[in-house]
Amino acid sequence: MTDTLETTTAHDDKHDNHHGPTDKQFIAIFFFLAAITAVEVLVSYVDIGPAFLPVLLGLMIVKFFTVVWYFMHIKFDHQLFGRLFYIGLGLAVAVYVAMLSTFQFFAG
């Protein structure tokens, strides 16, 4: 089998620019996600009062969509792929928020 590196071709530079982040940008995104995870853990140890829940949920949503948009490439791909995923995600959120509301989960 031929294992060939073609990392420095003009074609690949064009390819990367056109289709999404470069490897360096992926690494930068990873450090961003790691930093958010560290902040999440920190927040769980310190008392920030009523901001605790919104801050943690906000950080979780930022991490979630950062992975979906950049690592899963949804931001740079055809819109149909994203729509298929978002329909499933939206349906899940709607169904289970309704289910939890039925059991008065949010009442307390």
Binding site: T4, L5, T37, V67, F85
Partner: protein
């Protein structure tokens, strides 16, 4: 030629579908040269994978909601406050997050037709996934020794079901990674290798985003 750096494009890596790229603002579907395409010119494999991941949201949504509903249904001695080891789980989360980076680097290498680095990054991803599963087995064993069995309480049943299902997904992902490495090695992938690696990558990242939710809702937010 092995592990060499080519500074000029090889004939087999020259853009095979320039016309397709020219008018394609989103166009990442050029990976699917070897696969079947929908009438939109998109890869059927990729459409199916995204549809599958959308349906998986419903599965994990149900498991997470059930846990949220029953997370207070436990005895005073065997609840999250007594059992959770946040530093350990944080380290596990970091391992899985790192595996997402190595996975995306494997997809990137596959897009460059750099098979050597593709296999290396896939292998590292599988190892990190194995480390995460090992951590989960250790955690389950610890909880069991402290008296938390699957049927101890509604809390324990919903917790083990949720995290167990996630662990099974990670394990399936590891099998997919190892199988992909083997198939690349033996040249068993017909069509575009980059798309095959990308499919595994999509699944792996999905497993990661499910853990992002579990880590916050189950471990960090107290009942």
């Amino acid at each position: 030629m092995s592990d060499s750096v080519i500074t000029e494009p090889a004939p087999d890596v020259v853009d095979e579908h320039p016309a397709q790229h020219a008018g394609d603002d989103h166009g990442h579907d050029d990976h699917a040269h070897g696969g079947h395409h929908s009438s939109l010119g998109l890869s059927n494999n990729k459409l199916a994978m995204w549809l599958f991941l959308g349906s998986e949201c419903l599965l994990f949504g149900g498991l997470i909601s059930t846990y949220m509903l029953y997370r207070n249904r436990h005895s005073a001695e065997l609840g999250p406050d007594q059992l959770w080891d946040i530093p350990f789980t944080s380290a596990s989360s970091f391992v899985l997050l790192t595996s997402s980076l190595t996975m995306v680097l494997a997809v990137s290498a596959a897009n460059r037709k750099d098979l050597r680095n593709t296999k290396i990054f896939l292998g590292v991803t599988a190892l990190l996934g194995g480390l995460f599963v090992a951590g989960q087995i250790y955690e389950f064993t610890t909880f069991y020794r402290e008296g938390l069995g699957f049927t101890t309480s509604l809390f324990s049943s919903s917790f083990f079901t949720l995290t167990g299902f996630h662990g099974v997904h990670v394990s399936i992902g590891i099998i997919m990674l190892v199988a992909t490495i083997g198939m690349i090695q033996k040249e068993k992938i017909s069509g575009d290798k980059a798309e095959a690696v990308e499919m595994v990558g999509l699944y792996w990242h999905f497993v990661d985003i499910v853990w992002i939710i579990i880590f916050t809702l189950v471990y960090l937010i107290p009942a």
